[in-house]
Symmetry: C2
Subunit: 385 residues, 2 copies
Amino acid sequence: MNNFEYCCPTHVVFGKGSISKLRELIPQDKKVLMIYGGGSIKKNGVYEQVKSALDGYNLLEFGGIEPNPKYETCMKAVEIVKNEGVDFLLSVGGGSTLDGTKFISLASCYDGDDAYDAIMIREEHPDRVIPIGDVITLPATGSEMNDGAVISRLATDEKLPFHDSRVYPKFSIIDPEVTFSLPVKQTVNGIVDTFVHTMEQYCTYDVNSPLQDDWALGILRTLIKEAPKVLANPCDYDARANIFWCATCGLNYWISLGVVQDWATHMIGHELTAFYGIDHGQSLAIVEPRLLKNQKVAKAQKLAKLAREVFGVNESVDLKAADIAIDKIEEFFNSIGMKTKLSDYGIDAAEAAQKVRDRFRVRGTKIGEKCQIDADVTYDILINC
Amino acid sequence: MNNFEYCCPTHVVFGKGSISKLRELIPQDKKVLMIYGGGSIKKNGVYEQVKSALDGYNLLEFGGIEPNPKYETCMKAVEIVKNEGVDFLLSVGGGSTLDGTKFISLASCYDGDDAYDAIMIREEHPDRVIPIGDVITLPATGSEMNDGAVISRLATDEKLPFHDSRVYPKFSIIDPEVTFSLPVKQTVNGIVDTFVHTMEQYCTYDVNSPLQDDWALGILRTLIKEAPKVLANPCDYDARANIFWCATCGLNYWISLGVVQDWATHMIGHELTAFYGIDHGQSLAIVEPRLLKNQKVAKAQKLAKLAREVFGVNESVDLKAADIAIDKIEEFFNSIGMKTKLSDYGIDAAEAAQKVRDRFRVRGTKIGEKCQIDADVTYDILINC
């Protein structure tokens, strides 16, 4: 096991009826900006629950954070925070809204010209942040219990991640009932996102960390068992709760402590989203199987273990078991209605492969657990997607 | 899954060489009381590492916290804290030292007559605490990442637990190398303690929490795989690291969120330790198999799952599989050199059963996940131990 450090100060409040606890979690003297997305919270009752819980608070609102949250939109919220002296940010929505809120938290304390260049590229973070809390409504990103966010910039077709320990939410309210009304597409996107998060932290090479490995495989086993239940019955509380807790644990770092990670599928997926606007979950489902095929030899041991301990495959040769595992992962994605080919989304593989290769060449991008995936390897992966 | 809340602010620093990071973790203006146990840290180099890391600090020392830390001893440290104006407590030792430190943290801020009665029995905790950090040297209690402690009082043969969210350590340093020199007996005690902690959180009844169940079984699987390695080679770093991380995760609440727990084995074990002075791990190894046999019907589903998913038992009838699981647990304890009968420790079962029954009757104790284990059931369990 490798050395590690870990500290997540987030107070998690999980379960039905939890939104009413907001009042205990935000000091009453705070000036709160409630940040949300496209307005689904106004249809599913969450908006009303939040307003009711915070009755009497000095509460402003900012709606319109998009999926793959945009720098340009976030900066409009930053204006409000600065002009109104907001001192608490409440994200009410999915991981995109929360990621946007994390960026707003930092950018509101930054006084320079271009907050995207400063925070996302030069990593020059301001010396203070605005505290954050959230009501998370989509099981997917794990943003509710981590210190990361991914922000896109329309002007330059960029989609980049950042981390800052000060943007761990002070609290995260997770009420699985709010996911009963999720569109099927978002439910499926979230399941795939969680699955791939787990893979990125598990599927590298062995550093003798059996507990972390077992726990990662436990998330995959649970997703595979619970996913058909939520699709068959969207109001199955326990299945929704289990999927949500998998999503949170898929990226709260508990499975990645002391192990080697590889976020290549996400990095390539981000480019597909930036260029073609496909959903984050879709981009991952396209890239993951082909990336694993391409990296099969390097990842054979972990893939074979996955084949045996998740899919019950009885195959003693690691490389053969690895192949079966990859096929079964793609079958699982397809079985929940997720398409896994670029052509399914009307995207030309040759064009996509070239575009991403060119960008990675310019940036000198090298990804994978041993930096073994450069621009040309990425081309080889995408041409087969 | 049941509703839950969770917040652990502890900064975990895990891995070889971590003790040198103490300097970054304790503010230099603090007056620190370093609290330790029987002096093993002076033999294994830990004391020197701590002193060296804190060179220049205003550092006092208090040694002599016993296994099953005693109220009477802790109160001597409280005197020092109060008289010297100590404002940071650094526990250097195992879970007993850390548990004692947690009590000292509270008792130092309590001004009444009898801190044991106030904190342990009446649960009247003071309105402030002294902050705590620790270098944990024994994989067992999980105290390094939780808010609980167990304190004994010699005067009354009592051993009771308390919880207070303010005694979560600010940081915990876990360096598996410091466990290379552990006596075999302590290594084995710690493995059994971790195993039983995990059982107490897993082995109740099903509330549809497959991820938590899978993770609990993952700890058991890992313990069973890694235990023989540390016993065969005490300086196997990875095995020591895996055992330590299992111990921490065995009681940092990650496997118990949203599930039903049953701490009956611990509660009965504590009485055996209070009356007969046997080690905590020994008491658990004695009680656990007989308690499970007694509660086999209520716990059949979880025991059968354990039989199949930990021990690979191919038995479709739950009650039969449950029986096999209990036998295999006792075999595992025996296989690592842990004796599991009262008579192995020179204790008369009839006398022990009667003593604990009498005390539970006076207290009206009812334990188990449905309060189904009263004084008489406890007698039935112990008479078979």
